[in-house]
Homo-oligomer: 202 residues x 2
Amino acid sequence: MKTTTEAGREAGDAALGTRERIVRAASRLMQRQGYEGTGIKQISREAGATLGSVYHFFPGGKQELATEAIRHGDQEFTDILREALDGADDPAEAIAACARTVAEALRASDWIDGCPVTATSIGTAESAPDLQRAAAEAFARWRGLVEDELRASGFAEESARELAHTVISTLEGAELAAQLARDEAPLLIAGRHLARLIDSYR
Amino acid sequence: MKTTTEAGREAGDAALGTRERIVRAASRLMQRQGYEGTGIKQISREAGATLGSVYHFFPGGKQELATEAIRHGDQEFTDILREALDGADDPAEAIAACARTVAEALRASDWIDGCPVTATSIGTAESAPDLQRAAAEAFARWRGLVEDELRASGFAEESARELAHTVISTLEGAELAAQLARDEAPLLIAGRHLARLIDSYR
């Protein structure tokens, strides 16, 4: 027999489960089809949730949901980046490893699943400024992780800040190029070049 | 009095004028709103052309028009790149200058007009493979320009090919980052880093 607290927690967990399923469905669909190409009905179908429950969790509708989808994508790449940075002795090697991980994931998706943050936010500068802000925060957070790691490895403050900019810009652009070319080469080359650039500041 | 040939040519010029206006309107709108966010009616309004004339020139509808819009964006950046490469004595300096030009144009548009090729093609991998191919061709063409310039400046074949990959990937990613941050910094830093990377192969 369940106590009131247990029953309340189970109901809460179930609610959290639905919300999370909706965010993941939105993130995956917008990663493939962009913000404008994805409808809220399709998200609710893909999440196995009613339209009513989508609006219950996201009263702001598609734009609020897209902002959460971008945060979800932000967290996914934060995890990839952190794992790469923690898994290598050296930040240059870590960035090259991160480029390889992104390339593998892209190939595994048959070149369909690029960066969800970029795919969701691009083309919305005028129509959905919230998405721009969420995407800008994601880029800034990723740069922050790289900058901190470089500084911890002894790089000068300005070099670390500037290198972090180029690491994130280059990984992002190389992911786009690899997706279009249906080929890992742009990412693998970018990883080696970024390692070389980082090494040149030692 | 006009000869038949002159009249024919004038009619041809007028027709070309309308077609070109339609392509430019499509390119500009898709640059700002993406492929899915842009409707063919909006393109016809923006171009000052009837819907009938849009379908006359582009019987394949929006996807055919978007392919032409990508080719238009391809040509625009080809011109910027070629001007930068022709205008500097040195390819490293030329790439840094190109990054500055892109940054200035982005600021002048109040951070709205990013890369039209990326904005039009992203999120269409499943729905419009023609756009992916046109965008892939644009990236390959830009890389080819950089690669040729590096080889003409004495870089080894493989270095030139690989550097060209990273130059285009990095400029593309830095443009996205600059647009999101509403700040030239990612592009200016990328330009300096690319010049440094190129110099490291001499």
